[in-house]
Every structure is written in structure tokens, then in C-alpha cells.
């Protein structure tokens, strides 16, 4: 068969001058500009478009929009492939390729359809009752289950497209571009308010030139409102380029809008409900409104001969439009015993059977609908009676009534209520600044929708202070009479949730087994848990449950509507912030230099820091050892710009710092530094750093790189919230100053050459001294402090000059053999000196554990002092900082090892293994010529000289270690002070 045999020669919104070709399952087809994939498939007579989830039954197109549960295709291939795409919302473009999902080897012949034969063994939740024996086979069963489940395939290549997010603000946000929404946007727009109108379709359903001319109105088409969050924030997902084969260069594929609206108008329309009857999932059975939409908007006949099956009036209009498009309407079957004259008039010349229902759908080749069987039904019970009537048809257009699209309303925390006349849930009390209108509000009359829209748009604008047009009076909207016929009599499978293959019998089973609350029903049967989130199934499902439980529908309640309204891409949500742009990167003034030298980098918070500088002829480890050794022997420079720096000023600056550091600072004179430790309020060590008194009432305190933010927040909290009476000003100046440490015996000579006006003699500039100077017009701060344990300085210069000073140090020091070193060598040097960093400052240690007890002032109160006195923080048996050396003097101490006395002890049952401590840091010490480490060990200070084991089963290493003083190099401090 070739050609669009189901397409009419005239009519519809399509553009016949632009023919498009596309493929489905490898076969070529034609459609027109303006088609959806679904309308084009129907035009070509393609009936079966997918297989169902569990039974792998052939499925056709059910709807024409959001509601579609069946027609999910894998769109495109390669890097741009997209799983689970609703064919009813895909705009056709030339060259589009689509593939059916969930079938193997082909759509026509699907091996797993065999599940259908065993369907009796697969009722809802069957997997909870089986696959338990033998226990060890579950992982095998699971593999099979997993392979059978799932639907489309995730892409495995990098997405070439760009996604963006943006914020927007408006006075009135209108969701939905139907008659109600457009009328609301117009009324609000006329008032001068800033209006955004979002519509999922490529165009508004009413063309409105006036809107387009308003500067204050932004119309977003191809834009779905996905979520309604607190404080009137809505998330819109705009598809900019999905209707094209690929985005243009630099064009964004999808943009996610985060809109803060003062007022929201929800005009999201209503979705038609299916009817529940035997074999209602046959390809060819579709929603009446969908068949109508294909006929009217796309000039596509959903089939040649249709039976319309309804419980309400709206399907009569559908029948009329289908007929107008050339579909032969074999009969309208209405479950209601009687219909009004006006309704009957709509069906002039069409056979109408009231008080009847379909009790089976016959299928022909490929599973598509071939005819229906009906019977008369009992007006009260719905029980079939009398003799069956067969009618041949290839389409069943069904209508079970309408559900207002209340998803966003419900997400906004609005209360929904059940409306018996409409047999549907409708919006009740709003919670946010929101109005629901039109079909979304249960108003199904066209004129009434427009008036309701106008009034809501105007009122919303008025509420935020605009002069809006007057309200119009609305004809009292009489809802179309609908007789809720939820489930036709038993027979073959009656599907409620098409996507997840949940039948009316499954609901009955859930009821009998006690899964009766709607939430249990949902989770036990998976009703409403598919990609369509039960848009066509939820109300039918809970009505059937209500029937079993002999409760009214509102008493059974609904499940929770959750974002997103309809699925949105993860790429759109993340926008710019993935991969390298996931988080910002902070770089020092010398970064580019380090990169140019080929340094490797590591992350410290957001900072990137050079680890070491590769050297020809050396392995990485050798290069690191070279750097460390060189510092001890000569001199090295390291970039320490990343340390947190906080400028503290004010009359009470000293008092403030005294309260937050454990140290006694009163005797700290201007021009001196001190090593300081802060506790958290709970008494454990928070951070360490230096405190330098720059002036009488001005200090510079430093923090570790990773704690810079938290320390600043902690200090601001105390200053602003707890001690507002103190005059203290805090400012983070971390990025203002480039920091360079100059360490090694030659450091003094090097600096004396660069800063000739500074007296570097010990008396003039002692250890822990601070000097300010000026070099070439650049202000310089010099601190004589040492992390490496060497004679060392730290230099701070305004960051824009950082690189100059770095290179000047290297040039000036060339004769002194200066080299740059990275964080790896710095780490070795500090371990050799027994200085602690992150691995030891693990948030669980006390000042005493680290040997800082002596620093703790007894003369003043400070943060953490009181809770540090608690029993568990002062008891014997705490882990204390020790040095570690391998007992054999050479075996490396395994990183991450645990320390214990008996590595062969069997694992315990209920009492934790006797682990005495852990290795926190380890390295090979070039200075000592053997491996060393630091650790935290129970009563470690009393155990120097003991031999224990560093045990690392995870790397199969066990090393006997001797505990020592943690200061390996220069314990007397001669190098520091000399």
C-alpha cells in the first residue's frame, strides 16, 4: 500500500504544498507540513504503532495530544535519538525517523507477545508472589525481568545539542492557548500588565493578531508548563528546535523557563476519558475527540467505518466532524437509556443505539479492529442483556466524558473537588494567586470559556494594580450530561491503564487482596505510573475501585499530581550546568602559568590547584620527591592563593576574634602572626589558620581552602545574629591577594634580593613576624610563617600582580636554585613536620587529640569551650595524633589503612572490631629516606615506640608500624626560627 490513502484532498491545518517524507520502522512514508507523526501515520493507514508493556499486545494511536499512552516511539537515531516520544506531540519534519519500541524482533511479530498466553499467570503484582525460590536465582530472574521491561533506549552518544534555562517575571501568566486562555491573555494584556501566555502546541488554537501586537504580552508556543511550585513559580519547557531535523548553529534545542508570576491563569483544557470495555485496546479504538481532531485539523480519516461509543454528548460533535471528513459512521452507541432531542438532532441520519454497550472488539490481521459486538444494558446495573449485535468497523471512537486538566492546579496546592454533574474532578479552592478557567474549570461551553477567560484575565490584572476591562456575564454553563459508565461488563481484558497494561480485573484483584486505598492500588497494579501518568486511566481506575468498595468516588480520592505535568528532558533541566560547567572553577592569578608548565591539577572545593610539575626523566613520584627534597635543601615556591583570607576590622575586632579562637590573642602585637584554632559550638575542631594583627584594630585571618566559606558564614552569624553589639566588620579578601609561600634554607636570601628595603635578619623579622613593604609600587604583605617546617615566608600581593611576583621570584632565585612545587610536595613537607590538614581535621577531633591543648586559653570564654568539656571529648581512650614509621624502615604505609594490634583477629559478631586507629596521611619522606605517616590512634600520645599494624585488607597490605612523635623533621624548630 502506498500513499496517504486516509488523507482527504481538502481541509485541515496542514500545508499540502510542503510534502515531507519520514520513516517508521524503516519504511518510507509521506506526510505534510503541519502533521504530527501520529496524524501522518494514520494518514498512511498505519494502525499498529507499539506493543504494550506487559502483554506485548499490539497498540494503536489512542489520542491526539498529551494523553497518548500507546504511541510512544524511539525518535531519530545515533546521538540525537530520543526514547518514549509521544507520536501525537511530534511535529513532522522532512527526514524524520521513528522506530517502534518494546518489541522483538519486530512490531508485527513480537516474541514476548507469548506473555499474552500466560496472562493468567501474570495478574497485578504476580512478581511479589513468585521468583522467591531458590533464593539465589533471583538475580537471574531479575535480569530477564529487566530486559523485558523498560521501553525506549537511552542514547549512548554525547548529545550534540544545547539547552538553556532562563528566568522570567510577569504580572499574569496564562497557561493554555485555547479559547479560554487566549481570551484571558487578551484581557490582561489590554490592561497593560506584563503577560506571558504558554501553549504546548505549535500555534494557539484561536488565531489572535491583537495579542501578537502587544509589546507587553509574550506568547510562547511549543511551550509546556511542566510544574507549579511554591510562591507562584512555574516551570515552562519550550521546544525551540524539536520540529526541525536539527537545531541551527548555536540555536538552543530546548529552553526551560522559570517564571515567577504575580497571578496565574490556568486554561489547560480538558482531556477525554476512554471507556472501559473488553478488548478496548485494539488498534483502531481511540478517543472520539482524537478521531475528531485528526479529521478536522489534519484531514485524516482514522478509518473507513466507525462506531462511536459514548456516555455523553460531546461524542456526537465528534461523529459529525468524522462524518464530514468522509468516515462512515456505522452507529453511535450510547450507554444512556435516553438522550435529549437536541443531541439526537446532532446525529441526524446516523444510527443511534441508546442503552447499549460494546461487549467485545474483534480484531483482524495485525490485531487491528475489525468490528464490535454490542448488547443492550440494564439501565441501573449496566449488566448486558439480550442478544448480541455485531457491527463491522475499523474505528471505535469512544468518549467516557471529560477530565479537566487539573494537574497544575493540584500541584499549586489548590484543592480539587468532585463534580457529580460532570462526573469529574474540578478545581476547588485556590491556594496561590491562581485562577482556573475554561474546560480546565469544567466549563465546556465554548462561549462560556471565552467569557470566563476574559473575566479571569481582567481580574488577575486588576489584582496586581492594573486597570482592566470590565467583567462580562457568562451564560450559565450547563455541563454536558454524562452518565458515568466506568466499566462495561466482564469478558476479555478491559484495559484501564493502556501503557502499563492494567485491567479492570487487576483492580478487582487489588481490591480483594486489600490494596484498596488509591495509593496502594496505584503501587500494586502500577496504574497511572507510566509516562502519561495515568492521564486517561486514573479516574476510571479509582471509579472502579470505588465501585468495589461501595464508596463514592470522592471518598476514594485521587493520587497525588506531581511535577512534571508531562515528561521533560534532563538536558533542559540542567541547561548550561553540566560537564565542565557543572560548577564554576576558581583559579588563582598563577593558574595559567602552572598550566603552561604542564602541572597536573586537583580540585579543592571549587579551586584548581597544581599538584606537581612534571620533570623530564622523572616519574611523577620522583618529580614530587624532587620538589619536596629541594625545598628542604634549597628553596621552593608554591601557590597558596587559595587559602581563605578574612579581613577583620573594628573597635571590637580583637574581642571578636578572642571569642572565636581558642588562643589567647590579647598579647598579639601589631606586626605579628599567630597559629590559631577554632572550634565548632559542639567543641570539636572546626578549622585552623593564622591570625595576623595588621593594625591596632585590623586583623587578617586565614582559613583552610575548603573551609573558607563555612568559616566566613560562622563568623558572620556570630557577628550579625549573636553579638550584634560588637563593632566588627568582616570581609573575605581571599581573591584580592595572590599568595605565594617561599620555603627552604635559601628563602631568606631570595626575599632579601627581591625586597631590598626589608630587613630579614632574625631579630628584625623573626618567626611569626609580619612586614609590609612596597616593590615597584606594589604593596606587599610578608608573613614569616611555615607550613613546611622550613625557614619560610608567605607573600601576599594584590592578585593582578601575583604572576609578576611569581615569575620574579623564580628569576631572582635562579642562582639560588629556586623551583616551584605543588600540593603533593607541600603535603609531604607538612607530614614530615606533623602539621595537620583535612584528613586529620575530620570534624571528629578535639584540640587535645591534635596536641593543641596547650593553645587553649583558660583565661577567656570562646566558642566550643563548654561543650568541649563533655565526657566523651575528654575521656581517656580518644584517638590522638601520632607519627607512623614502618617497623622495617622501608615498606610503604598503605593509604587508608586501619591501625590495630592483631590484624588476624576474626571478624566480630555484634561488638565492633578492635580497631585502634587509622592512617590519616602517608607518604615517602625524601628528607628521611623512608615512608612515614600520620595517624589518629587511641591514646596515641602514650604509645610512642609501640609497634602496631597498618592493615589494609582492601589492598591486601599489612605493615607493621611504629608509633612516633608526629613531628619527623626538625622537632626542635631550629629551621623555623633560624
Amino acid at each position: 500500500m502506498t500513499g496517504q490513502v486516509f488523507r482527504n484532498g481538502a481541509g485541515g491545518r496542514i500545508d499540502r504544498t510542503v510534502p515531507l517524507s519520514f520513516t517508521f520502522d524503516g519504511k518510507n512514508y509521506q506526510g505534510f507540513q503541519g502533521d504530527t507523526l501520529a496524524s501522518a501515520l494514520l494518514a498512511n493507514g498505519v494502525r499498529v504503532v507499539g506493543r504494550s508493556f506487559k502483554y506485548h499486545r499490539p497498540r494503536g494511536i489512542l489520542g491526539a495530544g498529551f494523553e497518548e499512552p500507546n504511541a510512544l516511539v524511539q525518535l531519530g537515531d545515533g546521538a540525537r535519538t530520543e526514547p518514549n516520544t509521544q507520536a501525537t506531540r511530534v511535529e513532522l519534519f522532512d527526514g524524520l525517523t521513528a522506530t517502534s519500541q518494546n518489541r522483538w524482533p519486530s512490531l508485527q511479530f513480537d516474541i514476548s507477545a507469548i506473555n499474552g498466553l500466560f496472562h493468567r499467570l501474570l495478574p497485578a503484582g504476580f512478581y511479589y508472589k513468585t521468583f522467591m525460590a531458590p533464593a539465589n536465582l533471583w538475580m537471574t530472574y531479575e535480569k530477564i525481568i529487566r530486559r523485558a521491561a523498560g521501553m525506549g533506549r537511552a542514547p549512548t552518544q554525547m548529545d550534540p545539542d544545547i539547552y538553556a534555562r532562563r528566568f522570567a517575571h510577569c504580572n499574569v501568566l496564562v497557561i493554555g492557548g485555547g479559547p479560554a486562555g487566549v481570551s484571558a491573555a487578551l484581557a490582561a494584556g489590554q490592561s497593560g500588565a506584563r503577560v506571558i501566555l504558554a501553549e504546548d502546541n505549535p500555534q494557539l488554537s484561536v488565531s489572535e493578531t491583537e495579542l501578537a501586537d502587544m509589546d507587553n504580552v509574550t506568547v510562547l508556543t511549543r511551550t509546556m508548563a511542566a510544574a507549579y511550585y511554591d510562591h507562584n513559580t512555574l516551570i515552562l519547557s519550550e521546544r525551540i528546535a524539536d520540529h526541525k531535523p536539527a537545531p541551527a548553529p548555536f540555536e538552543t534545542r530546548q529552553r526551560m523557563w522559570k517564571v515567577r508570576a504575580q497571578q496565574v491563569v490556568l486554561a489547560t483544557g480538558a482531556l477525554e476519558r476512554p471507556l472501559v470495555f473488553p478488548n478496548n485496546d485494539r488498534p483502531g479504538v481511540m478517543l472520539a475527540s482524537a478521531a475528531q481532531c485528526y479529521a478536522a485539523d489534519f484531514a485524516v480519516r482514522a478509518g473507513n467505518q466507525a462506531v462511536v461509543f459514548t456516555n455523553n454528548d460531546s461524542a456526537y460533535g465528534a461523529a459529525r466532524d468524522m462524518k464530514a471528513a468522509g468516515i462512515d459512521i456505522a452507529a453511535i452507541i450510547d450507554t444512556r437509556p435516553e438522550i435529549s432531542d437536541s443531541t439526537r438532532e446532532l446525529a441526524t441520519n446516523t444510527k443511534v443505539l441508546t442503552g447499549h454497550a460494546i461487549i467485545d472488539v474483534a480484531s483482524g490481521r495485525g490485531g487491528a479492529t475489525r468490528g464490535v459486538t454490542l448488547k443492550a444494558i440494564h439501565p441501573d446495573t449496566g449488566a448486558p442483556k439480550g442478544s448480541p449485535i455485531d457491527i463491522a468497523c475499523d474505528v471505535v471512537a469512544m468518549s467516557g466524558g471529560w477530565n479537566p486538566t487539573i494537574h497544575l492546579f493540584s500541584q499549586s496546592k489548590g484543592k480539587i473537588k468532585y463534580d457529580g454533574a460532570r462526573a469529574a474532578f474540578v478545581p476547588g479552592q485556590s491556594f496561590q494567586q491562581e485562577r482556573s478557567i475554561g474546560a480546565a474549570n469544567g466549563t465546556f461551553d465554548h462561549e462560556a470559556c471565552i467569557i470566563e477567560g476574559h473575566n479571569a484575565g481582567a481580574a488577575a490584572a486588576r489584582d496586581v494594580g492594573f486597570d482592566a476591562p470590565d467583567a462580562r456575564t457568562s451564560p450559565s454553563g450547563i455541563p454536558p450530561a454524562a452518565q458515568p459508565l466506568w466499566s462495561a461488563p466482564t469478558g476479555a481484558k478491559r484495559f484501564v491503564d493502556f501503557q502499563n497494561d492494567v485491567t479492570a480485573d487487576d483492580i478487582g484483584l487489588a481490591y480483594r487482596e486489600g490494596y484498596q486505598s488509591v495509593e496502594h492500588l496505584k503501587r500494586y497494579t502500577t496504574l497511572g505510573m507510566g509516562t502519561d501518568q495515568g492521564r486517561t486511566s486514573n479516574v476510571n481506575g479509582l471509579a472502579i475501585m470505588a465501585d468495589h468498595r461501595r464508596l463514592d468516588i470522592p471518598e476514594v480520592g485521587t493520587t497525588t499530581f506531581r511535577p512534571p505535568f508531562s515528561p521533560i528532558t534532563l538536558g533542559g533541566i540542567a541547561g548550561w550546568h553540566t560537564g565542565q560547567n557543572f560548577e564554576a572553577t576558581r583559579q588563582s592569578a598563577m593558574s595559567a602559568w602552572h598550566e603552561a608548565q604542564g602541572a597536573t591539577f586537583s580540585n579543592a572545593g571549587l579551586w584548581r590547584r597544581p599538584e606537581y610539575y612534571p620533570r623530564t626523566g622523572m616519574t611523577p613520584a620522583e618529580a614530587v620527591h624532587h620538589e619536596a627534597r629541594h625545598v628542604r635543601e634549597k628553596v621552593g615556591v608554591v601557590d597558596v592563593s587559595t587559602l581563605g583570607k578574612i579581613d577583620v576590622q573594628g573597635r571590637d575586632a580583637l574581642e571578636f576574634l578572642s571569642r572565636v579562637y581558642i588562643n589567647n590573642l590579647t598579647k598579639l602585637p601589631v606586626g605579628k602572626c599567630r597559629y590559631g584554632v577554632m572550634l565548632r559550638e559542639d567543641g570539636f575542631v572546626f578549622d585552623d589558620g593564622t591570625i595576623t594583627r595588621l593594625a591596632e584594630m585590623r586583623f587578617l585571618v586565614t582559613t583552610t581552602t575548603t573551609h573558607a566559606g563555612p568559616v566566613m558564614t560562622h563568623l558572620e552569624y556570630l557577628a550579625q545574629v549573636q553579638w550584634p553589639e560588637l563593632d566588627v566588620h568582616l570581609l573575605s579578601v581571599s581573591e584580592d591577594w595572590a599568595g605565594i609561600a617561599i620555603a627552604g634554607p635559601n628563602s631568606r636570601t631570595l626575599l632579601s634580593q627581591l625586597f631590598q628595603d626589608v630587613d630579614f635578619a632574625n631579630e628584625a623579622f623573626p618567626f611569626m613576624g609580619y612586614r609590609e613593604t612596597n616593590a615597584g609600587g606594589v604593596p606587599v604583605r610578608l608573613f614569616r610563617i611555615s607550613f613546611s617546617g622550613e625557614h619560610a615566608y608567605e607573600l601576599n600581593v594584590p592578585a593582578d600582580y601575583g604572576l609578576n611576583f611569581w615569575t620574579a621570584l623564580l628569576e631572582t632565585g635562579a642562582d639560588l636554585d629556586v623551583i616551584p612545587y605543588g600540593t603533593e610536595a607541600m603535603n609531604i613537607l607538612r607530614i614530615e613536620k606533623g602539621h595537620v590538614t583535612g584528613a586529620e581535621l575530620n570534624g571528629r577531633v578535639t584540640a587535645d587529640d591534635l596536641g593543641f591543648a596547650g593553645m587553649m586559653s583558660k583565661l577567656k570564654p570562646f566558642v566550643g569551650q563548654v561543650l568541649a568539656r563533655r565526657d566523651a571529648l575528654t575521656a581517656k581512650g580518644r584517638r590522638q595524633l601520632v607519627g607512623l614509621v614502618p617497623a622495617d624502615g622501608e615498606t610503604p604505609i598503605p593509604a587508608g589503612a586501619q591501625i590495630l594490634a592483631d590484624p588476624d583477629a576474626p571478624p566480630p559478631e555484634f561488638t565492633p572490631a578492635a580497631i585502634l586507629g587509622e592512617v590519616t596521611s602517608n607518604c615517602y619522606s625524601p628528607a628521611l629516606g623512608h615512608p612515614i605517616g600520620l595517624g589518629l590512634v587511641e591514646d596515641g600520645s602514650d604509645r610512642h615506640g609501640d609497634t602496631l599494624y597498618a592493615h589494609s585488607p582492601i589492598t591486601s597490605e599489612t605493615v607493621a608500624i611504629t608509633l612516633t612523635n608526629p613531628v619527623f623533621v626538625d622537632p626542635a624548630g631550629g629551621r623555623l626560627h633560624g
Partner: protein, 418 residues
């Protein structure tokens, strides 16, 4: 209890599945019980089950304000593991994991415990060492753990970005092979069905509104279905622990926060492990039904509403795509939230309280689903014997007063930092 098996399934198929009994009864509350458990989540139901099974106490009511399993048991990312480092946590979670390993058979309800392995990614040398440290504690305590290098991680998780120039490169990871996921709802249902079979009354739609205390002893509860007396009362109400504690006049070291989670549309198998990354907090797995199930951090403000806001979803998705860049065309299908009780050290509380006969099981923070069997087991022991089991003797309220906190993250007394 009628036994479930492939045979009973086949037998019932013959009668159109018309004869399956109710999984549990819906009794009206009696005036008094030996033990009342407040909270019909996994923990409460497991506690009732083990009280009956291990301790012979069967005159029990489990009171649930909504539908059973509707709390965090029904809204978590289902990760089950026992990869902890601190005494108190290690053996407790391992005990729980061992119970998981036989749970489907014990309950005769397939909870689909899938031991597919959990990998914690290390992105720096510091994290690598920390994971080794943790893995070593596990191994010494008899718990399985392996350290993987980057290439091994890449082999197991092919779609993970392991390129060395990634923003946060993957250096390796700690694998616990026995860890995995389970079908969360089934856990609640399985425990409910088994507890019910011992005669435990599971009473849904029954909210506890007050705790009756006489002479320092809890003697009963007020509920939306009337007053009920009990000799002993245990709460297992997850995010509501602080609130329940307040009913009994206790000020507890909790803050209640919302944690969101989300699922993608269902996909054919593309991720066989549970992968978690510490650099920006995210954890991802694929459910048996095919959805990618993932979550991250709290919303970071206290709330009792089971709904979150969008900034956190953005951040979790950003992290997820940074780890798995090819998922960017995959769609988010649903997101939701659960309220969880964050303790001041990130570890749980299972203990007696200063009020006689009143016991607390709570403070599960991000991770109490995995504890469900273990917590029920030790909580039952604690209630039955009026003293803790060795496995939970450190999970006290007192530890905050003495300072013997169990702070795996070292974040200190900021509840939401754990």
C-alpha cells in the same frame, strides 16, 4: 497466611484469581494493647513483626495516620548497603543487610532485593583514601568491600563519564558488591502481611495526636480514632519524630527536612549498578521497571510538606548529567518528596527515652530504608527487653549530652549538613 509461590499462582489462575485472601486485615482498634507502634512504615511494621516472631509479643497495634508504607518507605531511592565506617553504624547496618539477604523467603513476599552492587565514586586523592579507610573498616568487620580503580569503574558503568579531564574526574570507587536495591513498597507490604499473620493489628487512617503520660510513664495514646491504652509505646514515624517527641514533652536533637527524589521515563537496561558520587551529592540506579531513580541533597530548609522546590531538582539533574552526559535526552517523568528527620550527627536514634515505656526509633536522615529489617529487629529487642541490643546501644539520645556522637561526615551539630 496462605503461602505465595509459583504453584499457588498457577492454582489461583484457574479460578481467575478470585480467591486470594487479603494481604492484611483492617481491624478496628481495641481499647488496649501490650505494645503500640506508632507509624506504619517499614520500620514500624518490621518492629511489630520481630516483636511477634522473635519475642512472642503479639498483642500489638501498628497505628498509621495514612496508608501503610506511604511515608518514606514509599518514597525513597531504595538503596541498601552497609558501607559505614564508625563503630555503632558498621555492624548495625551489616546485620540489617544480612536480614535483607533472606527477607523475601522470611516474609514469603518477594521484596526484590537486588544485590547489584553500590559504587561510591572517589573524585580526588583525599576521597580515594577516605573510601579505602572506610572499606578497610568494613573488611575488618567482616563486611564485603572492594576498591576499584578508574578503569574498573568504567567497565562496570560504561555510560559514566570517566574521562580524566572531567570537571570532577573519577579516580576510582568503593564497591560493596552485596549492596543494591529493593522494591520499597513490597517491603512494607511483606512486613504488614507477615505481622498480620501473627495477629498484629495494623490500623490505617489512625493518627496519633497525643501521648498519655502518668507518673513519668507512657500509658497510652490519643488518636483520631479514639484513645488506646498500651503498656509500651514505640514510635517509628521518620520525619515526624520531633513532633511525636514534643507530644511527650521531649525536646529532641532533630530537624525535619524534605528530601526529593525522581524517576526518568522507563528505559531498557542501561545502568546495572547503584552509583553515588560524593562530589555533588547524587545517587542513581535503574529500577527493574526501567526508570532511572535518582536523588541528591535536601532542599535545605525545614519543612513538613512532602513536596520540594525546583532548585534542588535542577542541581540533582545537573549532577546526574555531569556523571552520565548521554542521558540528557532522557526525560524526567515524576518527582516527589519525603520528610526526613535529620539528627545532629547524621546517625539514627533507637533507644529508650526518659519516659518509661516510651521508645524512639528515628533520625534516619537520608538513609533508613536499608535499616528497615535491622532497625525493626533491634527496636523490637529494645521494647521487649526494655534495654537495647548490643547493636543499637550507641544509638541513644544521651550521646549528644555526653559528646559520644556518631558523625560519619564530621559535619557537627548542624542537622542539615549531614
Amino acid at each position: 497466611m496462605s503461602r505465595y509461590s509459583i504453584f499457588s499462582l498457577a492454582r489461583n489462575a484457574l479460578t481467575g484469581h478470585r480467591n486470594w485472601p487479603k494481604a492484611w486485615r483492617s481491624p478496628n482498634p481495641k481499647p488496649a494493647y501490650d505494645v503500640i507502634i506508632i507509624g506504619g512504615g517499614g520500620h514500624g511494621l518490621a518492629t511489630a513483626y520481630y516483636l511477634a516472631k522473635n519475642h512472642g509479643v503479639t498483642n500489638i497495634a501498628v497505628l498509621e495516620k495514612g496508608w501503610l508504607g506511604g511515608g518514606n518507605t514509599g518514597r525513597n531511592t531504595t538503596i541498601v548497603r552497609s558501607n559505614y565506617a564508625l563503630p555503632g553504624n558498621t555492624l548495625f547496618y551489616e546485620h540489617s543487610l544480612k536480614l535483607w539477604e533472606g527477607l523475601s523467603q522470611d516474609l514469603n513476599f518477594n521484596v526484590m532485593f537486588s544485590q547489584r552492587g553500590v559504587i561510591n565514586l572517589a573524585h580526588s586523592d583525599g576521597q580515594r583514601d577516605a573510601y579505602k579507610r572506610r572499606g578497610n573498616v568494613m573488611r575488618i568487620n567482616g563486611i564485603d568491600a572492594e576498591y576499584l580503580d578508574r578503569d574498573e569503574v568504567a567497565d562496570m558503568v560504561p555510560l559514566l563519564d570517566t574521562s580524566p579531564d572531567a570537571r570532577y574526574p573519577v579516580k576510582g570507587g568503593l564497591l560493596q558488591p552485596r549492596a543494591g536495591t529493593a522494591r520499597h513498597d513490597a517491603v512494607a507490604w511483606g512486613y504488614a502481611r507477615s505481622a498480620d499473620s501473627y495477629g498484629v493489628d495494623i490500623i490505617q487512617n489512625c493518627e496519633v495526636t497525643g501521648i498519655d503520660i502518668e507518673n513519668g510513664r507512657a500509658v497510652g495514646v490519643q488518636t483520631t480514632r479514639g484513645a488506646i491504652k498500651a503498656a509500651k509505646i514505640g514510635t517509628a514515624v521518620a520525619g515526624h519524630t520531633g513532633h511525636l517527641g514534643a507530644m511527650a514533652g521531649l525536646r529532641l536533637p532533630f530537624e525535619t527536612h524534605v528530601l526529593q527524589a525522581m524517576v526518568s521515563e522507563p528505559l531498557k537496561p542501561c545502568l546495572d549498578m547503584v552509583v553515588t558520587s560524593g562530589v555533588a551529592h547524587a545517587y542513581i540506579s535503574q529500577s527493574d521497571k526501567g526508570e532511572l531513580v535518582f536523588g541528591g541533597d535536601l532542599d535545605f530548609y525545614p519543612t513538613y510538606a512532602q513536596r520540594g522546590n525546583f532548585p534542588r531538582i535542577e542541581e540533582v539533574v545537573e549532577t546526574m548529567l555531569t556523571m552520565f552526559p548521554t542521558f540528557s535526552r532522557v526525560r524526567l517523568m515524576r518527582s516527589w518528596g519525603g520528610v526526613i528527620d535529620m539528627t545532629m550527627d547524621g546517625s539514627p536514634i533507637i533507644c529508650k527515652t526518659p519516659i518509661d515505656g516510651f521508645y524512639i526509633d528515628g533520625g534516619w536522615c537520608y538513609g533508613g530504608f536499608k535499616a528497615t529489617p535491622g532497625s525493626g529487629w533491634v527496636f523490637a529487642h529494645t521494647i521487649a527487653n526494655d534495654q537495647p541490643h548490643e547493636l543499637n546501644e550507641r544509638f541513644t539520645l544521651k550521646r549528644f549530652e555526653t559528646g559520644a556522637v556518631i558523625d560519619e561526615r564530621g559535619a557537627g551539630a548542624t542537622a542539615h549538613a549531614h
